[in-house]
């Protein structure tokens, strides 16, 4: 495969982002069409690369070859895991941008919205492709700073307050990440992930290493809103415009939080049991406490935001169990199953949580409220929203034909196989409470007594098209459990994590 195709994932959104303020001056429709167009192109590019099954591809910006085996260039690395994340980011980015064509008409300064959205996508694509910590930090900041601005896009009291809170906590997280990076540089005198990995494997595990890993878990844990660090998420995700809530919950916390942390813990540091136990504990806490906090919410988008914490808990628990098993050595089938379940749940969560936030946006668009006590009887007016939100609710609660069932099942089976019986029980309990809270959503929003003179109408066709595509994806992703399709998309990603020391060897081409 031509390795230069990788760089397009960063250049094209960045270029479009700065073309929109210029082009939007002349043509008012430039922003919306350009963003949807480029996102569609990037999805096609990602699918094209997946079908070619390239393995690990390395691109060195500037054409600087390694000098005496020491990498000097800016490395962009594309492997199974990055490709998996790239597909999620660009797919959800495309559908959100398409949905925003109708939704964002009500806001002023529409072109700035598209500029910021492009910057956010460029940053996230950069994060998943970056092969060194320097660029990882820069791209991470690009995406989170644009997300700060997007959260405050409505410039009302609540939006501004949520954005301020998000920025202070996000700033703390960035400082912790920077602190961790400084410590790594101090120890190894390099910032290339593959190079660091080679040095760390030589030196083995020492307390300083574990200290760095805990700092990084705290830093990226704030970005991913895992439970002790979750305070900003419900405010920020419920205040943003709905397409952006879908992007934030569906993609951002995965790309800049969970993806980075698993990449660093698996592929950079040598596997360590105590860190893995901490990571899994945080995941299990998020899973159960997130859902308990969610069930009492009456604001629709706040409820969904709390569920994001809980569902990311599933992902982290699954991957963390795999990490514990890998650190103990042996028992590889259960480890691969747990990691596969976690990654499978990651793509599923992106799809159904994105869809649920788009549904929430549609309800807000039509009924003018986010308070579930003031809704009711929307089933009569909004059949498409009803059916798509029903499929998403069933998917998130884990009802059989939908994708959420299979990923949760895999995580639970892996927990039982690996001997984590408590985690299996907790996962089941969290699933049941999730089902309860989504039945509450369905009942209060769609089936309660109808308001006699409700202003609600079905939303425009563009918004419906996005929601229907995501609802179909909720069903189609179930096919990932079958071997043929799994080998194309999921297995390469799992292999990157299971064979954790291979990464450095493949990137440095030793």
């Amino acid at each position: 495969m031509e390795s230069w195709l990788i760089i397009l994932f960063v250049i094209i959104p960045l270029f479009t982002a700065f073309l929109i303020p210029l082009g939007g001056k002349l043509l008012p429709w430039f922003g919306r069409t350009a963003v949807s167009g480029i996102m569609l192109f990037l999805v096609a590019l990602a699918v094209h690369i997946i079908l070619r099954m390239p393995g690990t591809v390395v691109y060195m910006a500037g054409g600087w070859e390694p000098v005496e085996g020491i990498p000097v260039a800016i490395y962009l690395v594309l492997d199974g895991l990055s490709l998996f994340l790239l597909l999620i980011i660009n797919l959800l980015g495309f559908l959100s941008a398409f949905y925003a064509i109708s939704y964002m008409r009500r806001y002023t300064g529409e072109k700035y919205f598209y500029t910021l959205m492009c910057l956010m996508i460029a940053g996230m694509n950069g994060v998943v492709l970056a092969g060194d910590l320097f660029n990882l930090y820069v791209f991470l900041e690009i995406s989170v700073i644009s997300s700060y601005a997007l959260v405050a896009f409505g410039v009302e009291k609540t939006e501004l307050e949520a954005s301020y809170k998000y920025q202070v906590l996000g700033g703390l997280a960035s400082l912790l990440v920077l602190f961790g990076i400084i410590m790594i540089y101090w120890q190894t005198k390099t910032l290339n992930i593959a190079d660091i990995s080679m040095i760390m494997q030589g030196s083995g595990q020492d307390p300083f290493n574990i200290f760095i890993q805990l700092i990084l878990i705290a830093g990226f844990g704030i970005k991913a809103a895992l439970i002790p660090f979750h305070a900003w998420l419900p405010d920020a995700h419920s205040s943003a415009p709905s397409p952006i809530s879908a992007m934030l919950s569906g993609v951002l916390i995965k790309a800049v939080g969970v993806y980075v942390i698993i990449r660093l813990l698996f592929n950079m540091f040598p596997p360590d049991n105590s860190v893995a136990v901490v990571f899994t504990t945080i995941g299990a806490l998020s899973m159960i406490i997130g859902v308990i906090l969610a069930i009492g919410q009456w604001d629709l988008k706040r409820l969904l935001a709390y569920h994001s914490i809980s569902q990311m808990g599933y992902v982290v628990t699954g991957i963390g169990m795999g990490m514990i098993l890998l650190a103990r050595g042996g028992e590889n089938p259960a480890a691969a199953l747990a990691i596969g379940g976690g990654l499978f749940h990651m793509i599923n969560h992106a799809v159904f949580k994105g869809l649920l936030f788009l549904n929430a946006g549609a309800i807000e668009y039509a009924a003018g409220t986010r308070d579930m006590t003031k809704m009711g009887g929307l089933a009569r007016y909004m059949p498409v929203t009803l059916s798509s939100s029903f499929s998403a609710s069933m998917a998130i609660s884990g009802i059989p034909p939908f994708n959420g069932f299979f990923s949760k099942l895999i995580i639970i089976i892996a927990a039982v196989q690996g001997g984590f019986y408590l985690l299996a029980v907790l996962a089941v309990i969290a699933g049941i409470i999730t089902l309860a809270s989504f039945m509450k959503f369905q009942r209060y929003a769609f089936y309660n007594k109808p308001e006699p003179d409700s202003p609600a109408r079905e939303v425009p066709v563009v918004m419906r098209a996005s929601m229907i595509s995501l609802a179909v994806l909720c069903l189609l992703l179930s096919l990932l459990v079958f071997p043929g399709i799994r080998q194309v998309l999921l297995d390469p990603a799992v292999n990157v994590l299971v064979e954790s020391t291979e990464y450095a060897r493949l990137v440095l081409n030793l």
Binding site: I11, L22, K25, G62
Partner: protein, 145 residues
């Protein structure tokens, strides 16, 4: 926004030219001496900011200036990106390709494309800092109204 006294106005007028020229020097010598696009751009923006602070400006004019500097910023970044991806377009498939001759180290015309990046980044940073300043001033005017 009101201006300041005549003494301040006159002195800033004299100073700003010097600051501006120094900023340009830092930008164009970025590949030879410490500094470069960011430091020089900050100096150039500082010259503009001093002028606006000393002379004052009307609300409508501030808005117009902000729009202009924001456009300038986007244009400069696009220019830098096009320059960076010219390798991709020309067919060598290297992002940030340094296709110009490197020249003799220490001379002004050396370093291939690096001076051009410095210039674009200098414009970009100057425009960005000016935009930030103007945006904050405009909010302040909004509040005091």
């Amino acid at each position: 926004m009101w201006g300041m006294s005549v003494i301040v106005k006159k002195i800033t007028q004299l100073m700003c030219a010097l600051i501006f020229v120094y900023g340009i020097y830092i930008i164009t010598h970025g590949h030879l001496t410490p500094g470069g696009g960011f430091a020089g751009g900050a100096l150039v923006a500082g010259a503009f900011i001093l002028l606006i602070l000393a002379n004052g400006s009307e609300y409508v004019r501030l808005k117009k200036q902000e729009e202009g500097s924001s456009m300038m910023e986007s244009a400069a970044l696009i220019a830098a990106l096009v320059l960076a991806s010219s390798g991709l377009i020309a067919g060598s498939m290297v992002f940030f390709n340094n296709f110009l001759p490197a020249g003799i180290p220490g001379q002004l015309a050396s370093g291939g494309v690096i001076p051009f990046f410095n210039i674009f980044i200098g414009i970009k940073v100057a425009a960005a800092l000016l935009t930030i300043f103007l945006a904050l001033v405009i909010y302040r005017e909004d509040i005091s109204k």
